[in-house]
Symmetry: C2
Subunit: 211 residues, 2 copies
Amino acid sequence: MKVYKIPEATVMRLSVYSRFLHQLLDEGVNTASSEAIAQGVGVSSAQVRKDLAYFGEFGTRGVGYRVDELYGHLKSILGLDHDWNIILVGAGKLGSALALYQGFAERGFHVSTIVDNDKKIVGNKLGMVTVEPIEVMTQRVKEKDIKVGVLTVPASAAQNVTDLLVEAGIKAILNFSPRVLKVPNTVILRNVDLSVNLEVLSFNLNMNKKN
Amino acid sequence: MKVYKIPEATVMRLSVYSRFLHQLLDEGVNTASSEAIAQGVGVSSAQVRKDLAYFGEFGTRGVGYRVDELYGHLKSILGLDHDWNIILVGAGKLGSALALYQGFAERGFHVSTIVDNDKKIVGNKLGMVTVEPIEVMTQRVKEKDIKVGVLTVPASAAQNVTDLLVEAGIKAILNFSPRVLKVPNTVILRNVDLSVNLEVLSFNLNMNKKN
């Protein structure tokens, strides 16, 4: 399958579609039209068809998509047809919340190692995982062949931790620290700024007020 | 100022630009080219110019943008030129992390009320705010004229809480619960699924492997 450059917004919607299809499977629904998917997730049916068209021909005209088939395709496209080990660096409030977030494991993301540099936190159990001292970080990445790191450390520590993770062989970083990070081209970096979500809301509230 | 339909991706980038401009102001930088902004946030300079063009003419050819002026414009566009009161419903691990998240207050979002239905949590202090019983929720929204609600409740409670918030006069909801919510057209709903971010990473890791 030849894949062209896919817009990130499309990837995020594929993720949402796949969740909705999983819900349909749970409800015993076998086929779904693009209209049904569109309505279920709150986009237009043209958008659904356009997004799926990036990855070839799915579905049958007049019948719609086979739910299990499309769900399997989307999982494969999203890299969710196998499990991922994750290292979580920083076990403060946000780190703890992420470590215990059910949604990760459901989608095949397993927090297999948690490290922190705070001696008061090291030794705590978060779900099934015990927080280890940050000194074992690179060793755990190598021995468990971990490819994905999640950073919830203070801004001041973020670049240093990133450099160590990259050196240890991490290929993708999800960064919750409010800091612009430098990584080599071979490493995928994604920054999550939780306040951006609130700003999209306030932008829209502002626009509604003016109209 | 006449504003046309702005893509959400643009709004999210405006939020990122404004954060970078704030950083420049802190560093005493007075003017910035679109190239400098582009490099600072990791997009193309054409993208910066296109995003800003939605809102009229900023900047001077050959000189660039006045940092303080552009920052002021962006804050106003994003609805950040005044503060917002927020009610946080659900004070579990994720709710606590959000309540204590510095980034919100920095951008003018003040968590002024926190409620939970768990008697063991009610009475806890999160920063300056004491967790109150969920029974006072609608009363607080009305008396404090709160427009924005943040939901970190279990999926099973999410729609019920949403209905009560809407009835009380909430105009925008940021939903962290893994549940598709129904709101009237007059209410802005934004769903945050934290695992979507990981799925964008796994998608890209998958693509890199194939290329």
